[in-house]
């Protein structure tokens, strides 16, 4: 009886999540396509619903917020309800701007994670199997992991002017769909940061594979490289999935720090909306909503990947920052 109810609740919750998530992603994809095509349907940052809708919800929100004023608790309750209603109008008006900015956040995150992985694999290999390189990799990893990402970004942007200059002079940068130099510096910063973390995750998962596996691979006649490639890595990469999820989530959130180096990602956009409207809380909460959608989607996607490649007995261990 109670188990039956619990299952129904879970189904309902999942259904709602899919419906809302699906709607948001449909809308996001529409906004992206619309903006790439130069605003064929509506202007790239122009809302789909008329301004009057936003005005109406905002005044409705204000009215609701005024209900019960003077009565403690009731007043607070209606304040919250009124704020939430007003927030709908606010989101309808400023959502499109953040949607366009969200694309940049996605690009920043995905490129940085992937390139970070490419850098991380040799780093991890050096850390596990290297002689001298072991110490080089160790120092790099600990240095990066022990210092704030803001400091790394600032150092690259303000402390290394030659880097900005060099990137700016690469033909095509800042033109068309190729992002401006600040974005490239942000990507470089995220790659450096992420590679250090990913190297540690990979090292951890390689070391969590039972040494007997490599022995058995050698006993069948595989050489060390073959044993690592066909036996150790396929297992280690599966062990690493939960940490990758964490890494992706981490980068999505910390890509907001690119705001400090003028990259027009979600939070930069939200901040300028805030100072334009003075509705700071609304602007930041809306930004938080966008990050949350990206984070939840990333976790969900990675859990699908994990389930897809899951093998009984090759367990996943929780790890990550």
């Amino acid at each position: 009886m109670s188990a039956e109810r619990e299952r129904r609740h879970a189904d309902l919750e999942r259904g709602l999540t899919y419906a809302i998530g699906g709607a948001i992603w449909l809308w996001l994809c529409f906004r992206w396509l619309n903006s790439w095509l130069g605003g064929v349907v509506v202007g790239p940052t122009e809302p789909l619903v008329p301004q009057s809708f936003a005005t109406a919800t905002e005044s409705l929100g204000a009215t609701l917020g005024a209900v019960g004023d003077g009565v403690p608790l009731v007043a607070t309750g209606f304040d919250l309800v009124g704020w939430a209603v007003g927030m709908v109008g606010f989101a309808s008006q400023y959502g499109p701007q953040l949607a366009v900015a969200a694309w940049l956040t996605v690009v920043l995150t995905v490129i940085s994670t992937l390139v970070g992985l490419v850098v991380a694999v040799p780093l991890a290999a050096a850390r596990v199997y290297g002689r001298v390189t072991k110490y080089v990799a160790f120092v790099y990893i600990e240095l990066i992991r022990g210092t704030p990402l803001v400091a790394q970004l600032f150092l690259l942007y303000y402390g290394a002017p030659f880097l900005s200059k060099f990137i700016r002079e690469v033909p095509g940068v800042g033109q068309g769909i190729v992002p401006a130099q600040a974005v490239w510096i942000a990507i470089i910063g995220f790659v450096i940061n992420s590679s250090a973390y990913q190297a540690e995750y990979i090292r951890g998962s390689v070391e969590s594979v039972d040494p007997g596996q490599l022995t058995a691979a050698r006993a069948v006649g595989l050489d060390k490289l073959g044993g690592i490639r066909y036996v150790v890595l396929p297992q280690a990469l599966r062990y690493a999935i939960p940490s990758w999820t964490n890494e992706l989530v981490y980068l999505i959130k910390y890509s907001s720090l690119a705001m400090f180096i003028t990259v027009p990602e979600i939070f930069t956009q939200a901040d300028s909306i805030g100072s334009e409207t003075f509705a700071y809380t609304n602007a930041y909460v809306l930004a938080a909503g966008f990050y949350l959608v990206l984070v939840v989607t990333a976790s969900y996607g990675m859990s699908k990947v994990e389930a897809e490649v899951a093998i009984p007995g090759v367990g996943s261990s929780d790890a990550g920052r």
Binding site: D210, T215, A216, R218, A219, V220, G221, L222, V231, Q235
Partner: protein
């Protein structure tokens, strides 16, 4: 007799870990189709001896030759292609199904096609009675089934010699029989086997020779009946008596 006439010749084998000598002048030979059983207390060097044969452990002194060829002169991967090994704790590749476990060697080491390697794997699984578990992953198999897959994996490389490193000591008692059954069939088919095991029933019925190792030295060896009924050394007798008390005699277990 020249060493070339034997399948395996071990001469004056020396191996130490740091200051501790774990193998001290081991000499023995095996001919094709021999089943050589190694017994001895734990720490006596049995597993180390086994691992020297396929060079999972490197040794300092003496020579080991396989089919007349010095193993130190052989390419180590080539050597391991010719010598199959079965581990105490199975060491099945955790991310591969039973079939893929067996097919990995033929595919990646012998360079066979995927289809060929697969067929071979199914044949070997059939041979150990596990054709119906071909698509199960190690975590889904019982200990006895795992070890039979381990044997199939070694057989798929067409080894000249099979090494068994306490293949049943990680198994629950009721699962030991199925593994020993497979090993007995192999022996009947003429496989050359070097086994570390304390299954005295198996040793007595199947072994062509039993060696007793203690403190890295070969104390004595002989055919099973003689060793069991008339051990020459006090130490051998004591060890066999303790084993018998533990495992309930030299009859089938």
């Amino acid at each position: 007799m020249s060493r070339n006439d034997h399948l395996l010749t071990v001469e004056d084998l020396q191996k130490s870990y740091g200051d501790e000598l774990v193998l001290d002048g081991i000499d023995f030979t095996m001919d094709a189709q021999d089943v050589q059983v190694l017994i001895g207390p734990s720490g006596s060097g049995k597993s180390t001896l086994l691992r020297c044969v396929n060079r999972l452990t490197e040794f300092e002194g003496g020579t080991i030759s396989l089919d007349g060829e010095d193993v130190m002169a052989m390419d180590v991967n080539e050597l391991r292609r010719q010598v199959g090994m079965v581990f105490q704790d199975f060491n099945l590749f955790a991310h591969l199904s039973a079939r893929e476990n067996v097919a990995l060697g033929p595919r990646r080491v012998l360079g066979k096609s995927k289809a060929e390697a697969n067929d071979r794997a199914l044949d070997e699984l059939e041979r150990v009675g596990l054709a119906d578990q071909a698509d199960s992953y190690p975590a889904e198999l019982s200990g006895g089934q795992k070890q039979r897959v381990g044997i199939a994996r070694a057989l798929a490389m067409d080894p000249k010699l099979m090494l068994f490193d306490e293949p049943t000591s990680a198994l629950d008692p009721e699962l030991i029989g199925e593994v020993l059954g497979v090993m007995r069939e192999l022996a009947d088919e003429g496989m050359t086997m070097l086994c570390v095991t304390h299954e005295m029933g198996f040793a007595r019925q199947v072994a062509t020779d039993i060696m007793f190792l203690e403190d890295g030295r070969l104390v004595e060896h002989g055919d099973p009946e003689r060793l069991f009924t008339d051990p020459r050394h006090e130490r051998t007798e004591q060890f066999l008596r303790r084993l018998t008390e533990l495992h309930g005699g030299g009859s089938e277990s």
